[in-house]
Symmetry: C2
């Protein structure tokens, strides 16, 4: 069986997705839980790596599992949750088509970058969002987001030193959603794209916010797209504000998905 999982994790105390010696990683913890639950050593394939400190609400991974484990595929999640640490949970499980590969089959991914607006640190917000001193102007942020949507060479929006074949990526959509919940205000920046360069969403979020704050001219963002010059943009925003929301494969993987 080609088992597939929908995963959520709190990245605060995790050293990212990929297995490392002497560090707690999502892949490492999952492979250990699979070994303990089913007695097999497998390699888990994620839709992509997430960095240390990055969270996930809808990461997807797959791994091979023998038939005849004695439980329906939809209950694999429960079997693994019994062995996973509390900061990692399988939300759903299923049997995927044999050719399904969580990484190569992915069509789109949506990441959320979250900030809250406050003069001083708020302990109830610090874990999953980053403080931004004052509320940026929404229209200026929207103008920056409009510029970034579409197919572009995003080499200026990538950590230096990363080597990829092409730095052209398509950003399908950027949604800016202000929120207010009774004691704090903030913004979700949801970025849906076909694929992302290393640190791309965190650099995009920083550019959008600094445009909104009037610290980065929109012309500088255009120049960064045109020239690929990382120096034209602001800083890379911290990992803890980033959450992988969902991975879209073009078809539903789990029973009841979308309900």
């Amino acid at each position: 069986m080609n088992a597939v999982l929908l995963l959520s994790y709190d990245g605060t105390n995790l050293s990212g997705w990929q297995v490392q010696a002497n560090a707690r990683t999502v892949q490492g913890e999952l492979e250990e839980a699979i070994r303990r639950a089913f007695g097999v050593c497998v390699r888990v394939t994620g839709s992509g790596r997430t960095d240390a400190g990055v969270h996930a609400a809808g990461q997807v991974c797959n791994f091979p599992l023998a038939e005849g484990i004695g439980i329906p595929p939809s209950r694999i999640a429960d079997a693994l949750n019994a062995f996973l640490p509390p900061d990692i949970r399988a939300l759903e499980s299923a049997a995927a088509p044999e050719e399904f590969d969580a990484c190569r089959s992915a069509k789109k991914k949506t990441y959320r970058y979250s900030v809250y607006f406050a003069r001083r640190e708020h302990p109830l917000r610090e874990r999953y969002a980053v403080r931004f001193g004052s509320a940026p102007d929404l229209a200026r942020m929207r103008a920056c987001a409009d510029l970034l949507e579409g197919e572009h060479d995003f080499s200026a929006f990538s950590a230096t030193g990363s080597s990829v074949k092409t730095t052209v990526r398509t950003v399908h959509r950027i949604d800016l959603s202000p929120w207010e919940d009774g004691y704090a205000r903030g913004l979700h920046i949801d970025v849906c794209g076909g694929g992302f360069l290393y640190n791309m969403v965190r650099i995009m979020a920083g550019a959008i916010l600094e445009c909104g704050a009037g610290k980065l001219p929109i012309a500088a963002v255009q120049a960064a797209l045109d020239t690929g010059d990382r120096e034209l943009l602001g800083k890379t925003m911290p990992a803890k504000g980033l959450t992988l929301l969902s991975v879209d494969y073009g078809f539903p993987l789990f029973e009841g998905e979308g309900k």
Copy 2:
């Protein structure tokens, strides 16, 4: 000077408000920060105690501080934050009227009880909310909340063994606010009252949710109010879903409050 602070804390790793030997408490950490920042040993008065695991977005406390500390009252927050652990922060500070007492002067308090609806634990929700298996019926929850609003003898809504002069309290208002944020759904139950018995909000939240789930008849809630029988109600909900949102003194304590 009668210094007053607006406080937020993440209660997860705190043993509640009140000073205890060999335990991290909000009062203890505050008094230690005041000692380190200003070199004085004082007793801090909170608007009330919060239990181990309970969070605060707007706790208020006051303490005596000599004049001539060299910084304006609005900057006391920053001086203390330099010495407070990251799970406790002063959001605002000011000089209050001499007769102000954070406990005795309080007119109303608002607590929030937060739940999320999911079949399995969600690591990004578990810290500040409690999982409730399925979404309860809003109309039935509202009917229960309507019953609890007003002045009543809330002895059935109190942990057994607590001794107070009277168990009559006034609940000014209960707001039920469903939320949905792109990957999870839940409910905030905001309870504003003149004062609360021990565990009262956590027992009220449980009763409202169980009415909504059809597990507790509304007649049982009425009977609990009439008879004071704690056994008629459901369980006390866990501490981590509870947040002290605000304390109302009838006048603004901090510059820019309400903006």
